[in-house]
Symmetry: C2
Subunit: 762 residues, 2 copies
């Protein structure tokens, strides 16, 4: 299917991003920039308890405060259907989402929304929150998945029964789901092994770390139609969720996606939008809401903490014989952790004759988890890649040689079932082996209190697809507008525009991309799953092809020949096969379009399949400070099969960003709860993400194995790079100090504790 061209004119170049000027000059409009006449400000009252029954809410004093226009509680939300809604990589249950948006009956985590106020100023709204009286019956919280799985654990939802394995039991449980993926016979496989390693790993919740907090402004008009301005990865997903949560037809809701200050999966589920809608409906005025950072950290969806047990076996020559894993993921307050994805990722790079994976989705009194870049992948790979590293060492093999020996290629079966199409995993391993980084020996630290080590790890991501819609229209000056519904997070305005430019033989800057509202373009699924350059790029390709065909017809009309006589060249010129004197250009046809039949437009719609399995292999050098336990990253190289790098600079940027986030997860980031379930580090001073000072310049090596299921070979690239870092860094630490760390984050206190245990310091 891939259209192999010897050479592209635009694809593979690095033009300035189309939205660059707007962003650096402050013209780009974010949700915070919305100001409407008569606008009110909404604030949310949140639970101080991790687990409690709401006995009574009295809003009367708040309502009596001058300037307060409306107060809502869970009672104001309509009863909604118990149904699943797909949001890219995430699935949300609408009834759970309703309970998450405003608690009814019980609060299930510290920060759970209990009531919301609309007032004439944010200050009055905050004052009003203090006047809302809530009587709680505080219950014992359960914060650890292993505790939560115990039969006598406090139950978050007494009506919840386990789905999947154990379903027949029928007893209430915090285990929302237990599944098993399996092929071959692991017992037999382990019996065949010369070396078997088994370990348990633990990770904590971590946050996506987007800079812009959640925000939403809603205006419900007198006829019941609604406009919502918000920061989202998917305007149509917001439309659909609000429609269901507020019981409004989708076509009565217009969602205007404002510019987005980061999402990384965290902006696919709604939190404030339904509250703003209900408050606007109640007041007849626009209502603007935004979260402060503490609210973002307490009450939006981080990714799961987890307990993962991995057992793998291999022969002396390194051949893997069996792998087994148990993944227990925190769902948070409602079912829906990414444990399924984690189970898909954990052994994905390896050809395994015998494999068994058990997955558990377990409720705990923490916020409902959400999608975060390759959801569930980093912690899974951390576990498996640590064990693989250990096996390679037992075999006395280079860890990349070990991966080359066992690595998957086209036709191999992934542990969770499907056979692979053409993928580039082995190519990434080879490129890593041939890299300057891997070929350059690591020098020991000149500082005797510091030890250096090198680690490698591989990672996989599925890469998603989904429906997308594009309109391309021609301007009289020979430029084109690209109208799309995909939120641009990672440079997809540029990549989609470049695809249109390539097809039409135009410079990239002559294609003007516009991300429009849900009224103005066809359905487009969320920007997530590394899908946009694949699916919206594909729709752009189809739309541009329609334009190209029409331009050919116009030239044929002007020349009085059949369209088949017209040749459209890659540089945007057209010639006539039978008469070489006839020449024209896209720009000339554009200038005449209204006189040759009317405006020229092309549309492209698609429901694209997945954006091609993505594999990466990372190399990292670290230095461990024996006295403090602090780990510094000295050098980092990420190799990845990116299919076709439409705009290599943004592909590299995606990889660098994924590594940075993975490094944060590996070394410093964690949700820190006390025993009562209070989040103790709900600020970006205390929730420690890596800064520029914490990271070296990340080196990237792009391997291009075109995705056979995309007309231009595009493969998803944004998520794969967050999968290997934690494993690679853990392996490097082992290489440095000989200690196998099994918990994330590998923060100084934990590392120091292990160094002391190992007698390396005191």
């Amino acid at each position: 299917m891939a259209e192999e061209k010897k050479q592209f004119r635009v694809i593979g170049t690095r033009p300035i991003r189309h939205d660059g000027t707007d962003k650096v000059t402050g013209y780009a409009r974010y949700g915070a920039d919305i100001h409407l006449s008569g606008m009110l400000y909404g604030k949310v009252l949140r639970s101080p308890h991790a687990h409690a029954v709401i006995k009574r809410i009295d809003t009367s004093k708040a309502e009596a405060l001058p300037g307060v226009m409306a107060v809502i509680t869970g009672r104001d939300l309509p009863e909604v259907a118990d149904r699943l809604e797909e949001l890219g990589e995430q699935v949300t249950n609408i009834r759970d989402e309703s309970h998450n948006v405003l608690a009814t009956g019980k609060v299930l985590y510290h920060g759970h929304a209990v009531a919301a106020v609309a007032a004439v100023s944010p200050h009055v709204a905050e004052e009003a929150l203090k006047l809302i009286e809530v009587e709680y019956e505080v219950l014992e919280p359960v914060l650890d998945v292993l505790e939560a799985m115990k039969p006598d654990a406090p139950l978050l939802n007494p009506n919840l029964r386990t789905r999947g394995i154990g379903e027949e039991d029928g007893k209430p449980s915090n285990i929302a789901q237990h599944f098993q993926n399996k092929h071959g016979d692991v017992e037999k496989g382990f019996a065949e092994a010369d070396y078997v390693v088994e370990r348990e790993f633990r990770t904590t919740m971590v946050h996506q770390g987007y800079i812009e907090p959640q925000n939403a402004t809603a205006y419900v008009r007198p006829d019941g139609s609604v406009t919502i301005w918000c920061s989202t990865q998917g305007a149509f997903a917001v439309r659909s969720q609000v429609a269901q949560l507020c019981k409004i037809p989708v076509s009565k809701i217009k969602v205007v996606p404002m510019e987005i200050g980061g999402g990384f999966g965290g902006k696919t589920v709604v939190y404030l939008e339904p509250l703003a809608v209900l408050l606007s409906k109640k007041t007849g005025r626009p209502v603007k809401m935004w979260m402060n950072r503490a609210e973002v950290l307490q009450a939006t969806g981080p990714t799961s903490g987890s307990v993962i047990r991995v057992k793998m076996g291999c022969k002396k020559d390194g051949t893997l014989t069996a792998a087994q894993a148990t993944l227990i993921y925190e769902a948070g307050a409602f079912p829906g952790s990414p444990v399924g994805a984690g189970a898909g990722v954990i052994f994905a790079p390896y050809r395994l004759p015998n494999v068994q994976i058990d997955g558990y989705d377990v409720l705990v009194n923490k916020p409902k988890t959400g999608a975060y870049r390759a959801p569930g992948g980093t912690n899974a790979a951390f576990a498996a890649e640590s064990v693989v590293d250990e096996l390679a060492r037992l075999c006395g093999m280079d860890p990349l040689e070990f991966r080359l020996k066992n690595g998957v290629k086209e036709g191999d079966r992934r542990a969770d079932g499907p056979r692979l199409p053409r993928v580039g995993y082995l190519e990434t391993v080879r490129a890593a082996m041939e890299s300057d980084h891997y070929k350059t020996p690591l020098e020991p630290s000149p500082d005797p209190t510091k030890r250096r080590g090198r680690g490698v790890a591989s990672g996989f991501w599925f890469n998603g697809g989904g429906p997308s819609s594009v309109l391309v229209k021609v301007n009289e000056d020979g430029t084109v507008d690209l109208i799309e519904g995909s939120t641009d997070i990672g440079g997809t305005r540029a990549s989609c525009a470049m695809i249109v430019a390539e097809v039409l033989g135009l410079p990239a800057e002559d294609v003007h991309p516009h991300v429009v509202d849900t009224d103005s373009i066809g359905y487009t699924s969320v920007t997530g799953g590394s899908s946009v350059t694949h699916k919206t790029g594909w729709a752009s390709y189809l739309a541009a092809q329609e334009v190209r065909e029409e331009v050919i017809r116009r030239a044929a009309l002007l020349w009085s020949v059949e369209p088949a006589e017209v040749e459209y060249h890659d540089d945007g010129t057209l010639t006539c096969k039978s008469d070489p004197s006839k020449k024209t250009t896209f720009k000339e046809i554009a200038a005449q379009m209204n006189r040759t039949g009317g405006p020229i437009e092309g549309k492209g719609t698609i429901n694209a399949g997945g954006a091609g399995p993505g594999f990466g292999t990372h190399i990292v050098d670290v230095e461990v400070d024996i006295e403090t336990g602090k780990v510094d990253i000295l050098r980092y190289t990420a190799v990845q099969d990116v299919g076709r790098a439409i705009h290599p600079a943004y592909v590299e940027g995606q990889i660098e960003g994924g590594v940075a986030q993975g490094a944060g997860w590996a070394l410093t980031e964690e949700y820190y709860y006390d025993e009562k379930g209070h989040l103790l580090n709900s600020s970006l001073l205390d929730y420690r993400m890596p800064t520029a000072l914490d990271l070296p310049l990340i080196e990237t090596i792009l391997v291009e194995v075109p995705n056979p299921n995309h007309p231009l070979g595009v493969r998803g690239v944004g998520e794969t790079p967050i999968v290997p870092p934690a494993g690679a860094i853990a392996n490097a630490i082992y290489d440095a100090v000989g200690i196998r760390l099994t918990r994330l984050p590998m923060k100084p206190s934990y590392v120091l504790e292990e160094l002391i245990k190992a007698g390396l310091t005191s």
Copy 2:
């Protein structure tokens, strides 16, 4: 070509207009509602003289006023090309438009823009205007076309030479153009006539009377790209004009058409937009500008005053033998009156063997004229219909019988050339004859000081076409969005939505129309020439057909049959020809679209020919107050061939509105200049438009002769109804008092003067 259906489901019904709630609740956003951060306010300094040389402009004091951010004069406008730009029914010369936007060298009318200021508040901007020093050398103005045509008249533009007849002369002149349309031999025709009537008519400039003044907000971003929010009949026309006037590529300009508070032709040319762009460019901040009512009346484009001479001859049996006319139209300060259209209208209803029409476009020191509903038609028809009435009386024939005898039908040739396709003129005459109004004898007034009379007149309008673009996209809830570029003035959101609903078998309210900006839809020509339901309706029809085809393909896919097996019924249900058990609906297909191949969209683009010649015949009863000269309209019936009434209520509304404006033009409206060229009545108190108290309920009779050149038979309807009223009222006044009035407006002072002359009062 017309798709004849026995019956339509949606077309011909009267659903509530889609934009109704927004308009009555104040949600609809007009240009005045634009507020941007850091916004400045722009004001224009205007000439106090009708004709003067600008000797010197000193802006230094204004620039020094605190709060003033920029001052511009004609020098700030770039040199632009001497080229014509089509704006629907109007053509503008870009160089003239540049000089009109800001005078350079000379001012040519009272109110001509001389400089513009941007300041932190409108008040500071107004103060600054007073500080701009302009030294004028005042010249003699020329205000009357006959004076202006004289060889020794003061010249507005010493470089102007007459185009057309007299071109070879080569002398400077105020006559911009002289053309002649002719066929047969009028001398011979008049020789054959038994009766010949010749008269001269005079009319003054009149205004479109839109409620919302011109306004524009512009923001030029640091990369030079521009956004303009304005009130316009054509966002793409604004884009094109500003691009040429400011020398910016069209694709760097985004025009956001705000809701429009009336236009009637007056909002196709730009006045403030280029000034706001230049001021924003100079200041780096958004600049908002609006006109007050005096500026609107003094300095935007009214329609021409005129001198029209008509000579017609007929035999005793009423057969017309010849017609001759000379139309001399005020162009205003720059060439471009609608005299060409007037020449096309003047004898259009009549089959004429011999005809000769001379047209003159003449400069005078008044504002450059603009389009106004059937530009140039009302005054032309006033002249011809008065003469036709006189001839009928000479023949002793009923005036409608006279028209029936001489009226045009398919295959007849219009005086200016083209042969007519199927038209419904004779049908309108017959319907008028059979109307309750015409069959009901007019009772004499019980008041002896009042005389009653009945008059009839016919009228014609070309009806335009042009390029248009539409996107129709399907929502998951089975509704569709209609995305279009046509400003909705007369209910075209509704009419286009109804066409989509008809094609797809949906209720009208399930189609949601959206008028979007120039970045978001293909090129769409101005809302003018009664073209929108024709051209954008046609594009909507094409787009809906694409959706329909795709829905059929999806049903075929779901049923595993060939698309040809699928039948799409008018109620939106689909069945399988070979298997009656297979049934589905548009809504079911819509709900599944993402899983059956992706989102469903249809696009339609077209460059539509004219919207079918339109004819109407009006009947009016008036009462003339002999003591005051005041004329009251007692009853009014307008019959019109409307082709196909998509939404009959809005068609009727168009006709009622056209009659109301025609009645104002007939009786009270005029630009009143003193001898120095000062406009003395530049307010809506003094410029007297009819109010609800001045008019009876206007009765309408819709004749539907489908336009053969439109898939649904749509014919333009909005302009024809303004053409007959002045003639019909003049004929009714004659019927009442026996006086042939030859000037517009037929205001009390003029009528009284004639009554006194005729000895009917003293």
